[in-house]
């Protein structure tokens, strides 16, 4: 295992409303993320990558206040997120979980409207502001045409756009997404990520997401966090993080890193056994 040079984590110098201080997160007695310190750069797209079970989803869940840290803390605007009221957190930080439940017979506009929950109180019910937020969320996600349709009837890509619209209606400055492209084919993956990139630019929403596909992560991330065994191996720009030694350490996989022909961001080409086998058979 080659030694990695310590990468400059530029997020520490920039503003970071959401950060972790030596946080330990886990389920029961089992710690999945240990002693982890990181900061999410404001107004940027941060992507967390890593092998299965490396703790990337757990870190995201901790940042979203779904898990109470067993050590250290997650800080939102300088305060421990676990001690803030649920509603106040939900007005600042939105979350799209990996596997949300679509209630039977719910229409698109009804589902998106539920994103307004943290803005409504016991006395303050549905208002013009809520109406506007829902309309804007539908427009941004290009789902206005679907508004009256039932969510059950939609295709996977449409449904994911609707769920993102639900999170947008919440109108939070930070948006956390746990594998928003799972179950989608590659065209729909790109569509969803393009949408999130546009939102980040148009509203300077801080986006944090967990992604499986390294090449898409490299393409859409401003800030990339690579994790292994509950710790951060490298963090920085995709060009800084996606290197052959780093990928080899994070995923235990030999690869070449070449420039993406479309965007110029680093692109990982796995070597794999099958590939090696075939290059031997084909004469140069």
């Amino acid at each position: 295992m080659p030694d990695l040079p310590a990468l400059p984590d530029r997020s520490r110098t920039a503003g970071a409303r959401l950060r972790t201080e030596r946080v330990t997160l886990g389920y029961g007695d089992r710690a999945v993320v240990t002693d982890l310190t990181t900061a999410v750069p404001d107004g940027k797209v941060t992507v967390i990558v890593g092998a299965n079970a490396c703790g990337k989803s757990t870190l995201l869940r901790g940042m979203a206040r779904l898990l109470r840290p067993t050590g250290g803390s997650v800080l939102l605007d300088g305060e421990a997120i676990a001690s803030l009221p649920s509603r106040q957190v939900a007005r600042t930080l939105g979350l799209l979980p990996q596997d949300p439940v679509t209630p039977e017979g719910v229409s698109v506009v009804d589902l998106v409207g539920r994103g307004r929950h943290p803005h409504q109180g016991a006395l303050r019910r549905w208002s013009a502001a809520d109406e506007d937020a829902v309309a804007e969320a539908l427009r941004l996600t290009d789902t206005l045409d679907l508004a009256e349709r039932l969510v059950d009837e939609l295709s996977g890509g449409q449904r994911q756009r609707v769920w993102i619209a639900m999170a947008l209606a919440q109108q939070t400055e930070l948006l956390l997404l746990d594998e928003p492209t799972t179950y989608l084919d590659v065209a729909h993956q790109v569509e969803v990520l393009d949408l999130l990139a546009e939102l980040n630019e148009a509203r300077s929403t801080t986006v944090v997401m967990v992604l499986h596909d390294l090449n898409l992560a490299a393409r859409y991330a401003d800030h990339l966090v690579a994790m292994r065994a509950g710790r951060i191996v490298a963090a920085g720009t995709p060009a800084e993080v996606i290197t052959e030694p780093c990928v080899s350490e994070v995923f235990g996989m030999a690869c070449r890193v070449v420039p993406d022909p479309v965007t110029g961001t680093p692109m990982v080409v796995p070597l794999g056994r099958a590939a090696r086998h075939r290059t031997q058979e084909v004469p140069a």
């Binding site: 649920s86 957190v89 979350l95 799209l96 596997d99 439940v101 209630p103 539920r114 639900m166």
Partner: protein, 318 residues
Amino acid sequence: MVALLSALLVTVFLVRITLGDFVVTLPDVVRIVTGTEIPGASYILMESKLPRAVLGVLVGLAFGVGGAIFQTTLRNPLASPDVVGVSVGASTAAVFTIVVLDQRGVALAAAAVLGAVGVAVGVRLLVGAHAGTRLVLVGVALSAGLYSAVQYLFTRADEWDTQIVLQWLIGSLNRVDWPTIQVLSLLLLVVVPVLVVLSRSARASELGDDAAAGLGVPPRRADLLLLVAVLLVGVGVAAAGPISFVAFLAGPIARSLNGGRTTLLGAGLVGAIIVVAADHVAAYAVPDVNFPVGVVTGAVGAPFLLWLLATGRTSRRS
């Protein structure tokens, strides 16, 4: 939808208190309730028809709302309190109180509520935080065990007690009195406003635990709602026994009437309609035989349960 159900409930209620073996006309009902004494009619109305109908409405509301909270919070139409053993828990405690402790009244009601809470906590501990099929299976197993305990107590009961014990097996409005109604209405008056506030988060909770937390629903909110539902069901059982399948049927029926959206108020109204209508059928369907209301609701509910299982509508996860 609410207006329609309310109108239907009023209709069923009026049918229940006027028609039957002894017909009391509507003008007579008004006269009696406002204080005029009509020989015969007064006694029938004030001691039987009216209290039965009122208790039917209250118990139906409690079971309907309690059942719908269970089904929505646990996101499983099978997970109603009468299926997962909460109602049987209340019955067992009630029967134990009568047969072994020889207590009635407040002690009995308290025991029923404690029994309901005990089973709910027990199921929760056995199942863990994961709802779903496992919860239903554990509940069904626990119910079977509790039923056999009730049957055993039944064999030990005095002859006089067996009639009363039978009520806690089937559910019946036969032993109604006005004090029971007062206690039940008071409790509902306290619980319902609490529910209105708590259930505001139900629409967010339906989207799954993680999404609900992301929308700012406090983490313990679901447990709190379930506890209120357990109290409702426990109090209902204390007053009229576990009228089978009302908690189970009311939610899904109200839901389909409401275009597929969950409605607690709707579920309560449907529950009340079912109990009052079933009690009327139970009292007059067969001449000279006054069935307990639970016999009728059971006869209607069992096929519905089979239909749910057959069509695979046991989980709303997608």
